[in-house]
Amino acid sequence: MNTWIAVGLTVLGCYAVKLAGLLVPAGAMERPFVRRLAALLPVALLAALTAQQTFADGHALVLDARAAGLGAAAVALILRAPFLLVVAAAVLVTAGVRALGG
C-alpha cells in the first residue's frame, strides 16, 4: 500500500510539473534566481543519488564492487560513450568484480 502511495504521488507530481511548464506564461518562471535554482537542484540531487546508491548499504557507507562499476561509467562518459554503453559498462564491471570475489 505504501508503495502505491509513493507511486501515485510521484505520478501526479511529475505530470503536474511537466504540464505546468507548457501552460504557464513564460514570464512567471523566468526570474534569474528561480531559473538558476531549477538548473542546480537536479545537479545536487543527481550527485547525491549517485554517491548514495554507490556507497550506501542501508545506513552504512561501504566500498564494494559498485564503486568499480561507477568508475567504469565515469571513464565511458569521459570517452563520450553513448548513454546505453555507460550503463552497460557500470553493470558489467560491477558484475565482474563481484564474480572475482570483490
Partner: protein, 257 residues
C-alpha cells in the same frame, strides 16, 4: 546524452536540415535511452515493486531519474512521502524544459496535456537542437514516441526478466541506477558552480546517510543548490561576473537548459 550540451542555444547551422536527418537523430536518442528501460524494470522489480507498479511508473511518470530515485528510496526503506518528494524534486526540471519547448513548438492548447508527458531531458535536447519549428516538432514527436514505446516495452521485459535473472546484484544490475544518474549529471557540470554544488551535495548526502531516515539525506543534499547560489551571489558582488549568472548580471543565456 552528449546531446544535452547542444541545448545552450538553438544552433542555426542549417535552416534547411532535411527531415530524414532529424528523424535519424531523434531515433538514435530514442532507441539508445529507450533500451535502458530494461535496467529500470530489473532494478524496480529487484527493489520489491510489483509488475503493475513498475509498469505504472514507466507509463505514467516517464522521467527516468525520478523513477530510479523512487525505487531506490523505497528499496532503502524510505517512507512513501520522502521517497516521492525526492522523485518530485528531480522532476521539477521538466517544468523549465516545458517553458522553453512551448515557445519553440507553439503547440495548440488542446495538445499540451498529451505532449506534456514527453517533456523530459532527451526530447528537450533533440528539440532545442533543431533549426526550425518544423524540424523541432518532428524531433520532439519522433524522440518522444520512440522513447516512450521502447522505455515501456523494455521496462516490462526487465520486470518480467528480473525473476529469471534471480539475484540482480550478482549481475551488477544494482550499479545501473547510479550509472544512469551519473550519465545525466555529467553534461550538467558545465561551470565551477555546478561542480561545487555536486561536490557539496555528495558530502551532505553521505554525511547525513548514517544518521537520518532513508530518503531524507537526498533532500538534505538538495540544499547544496540554494547554498551555492547564495555563495555565488556574495562572491559575484565582490569580484564581478565570471561564468555564473547571478541576478544582477543576468546574461539571459540558456545555460539552465
Amino acid at each position: 546524452m552528449a546531446q544535452q550540451t547542444a541545448l545552450t542555444d538553438t544552433t542555426p547551422d542549417s535552416t534547411d536540415k532535411p527531415d530524414a536527418a532529424v528523424v535519424r537523430d531523434a531515433l538514435g536518442v530514442g532507441v539508445a535511452v529507450g533500451l535502458s528501460g530494461f535496467a529500470f524494470g530489473v532494478t524496480s522489480a529487484g527493489s520489491g515493486l510489483g509488475l503493475l507498479q513498475t509498469c505504472a511508473l514507466s507509463l505514467l511518470v516517464f522521467t527516468g531519474a525520478s523513477q530510479f530515485a523512487l525505487v531506490g528510496a523505497l528499496a532503502a526503506g524510505g517512507n512513501p512521502y520522502t521517497a516521492a518528494a525526492g522523485a518530485f524534486f528531480l522532476g521539477v526540471r521538466n517544468a523549465f524544459y516545458g517553458l522553453r519547448l512551448s515557445q519553440v513548438l507553439a503547440l495548440p492548447r488542446a495538445v499540451r496535456p498529451f505532449a506534456a508527458q514527453w517533456v523530459i531531458d532527451e526530447t528537450t535536447a533533440v528539440t532545442l537542437a533543431q533549426p526550425t519549428r518544423r524540424t523541432a516538432r518532428i524531433g520532439f514527436t519522433v524522440t518522444g514516441l520512440s522513447l516512450y514505446l521502447l522505455w515501456n516495452l523494455t521496462t516490462l521485459l526487465g520486470a518480467l526478466g528480473a525473476k529469471a535473472i534471480g539475484d540482480t546484484r550478482a549481475w551488477g544490475l544494482d550499479a545501473a541506477g547510479p550509472a544512469v544518474f551519473l550519465a545525466l549529471l555529467a553534461p550538467m557540470l558545465t561551470t565551477a558552480t555546478e561542480r561545487a554544488v555536486a561536490g557539496l551535495a555528495v558530502l551532505l548526502g553521505l554525511a547525513a546517510l548514517p544518521v537520518l531516515p532513508a530518503g531524507v539525506p537526498v533532500l538534505v543534499a538538495a540544499l547544496a543548490a540554494p547554498l551555492a547560489l547564495l555563495a555565488e551571489g556574495r562572491r559575484g558582488r565582490r569580484t564581478g561576473p565570471t561564468a555564473t549568472d547571478a541576478p544582477e548580471h543576468s546574461k539571459g543565456s540558456g545555460e539552465d537548459r
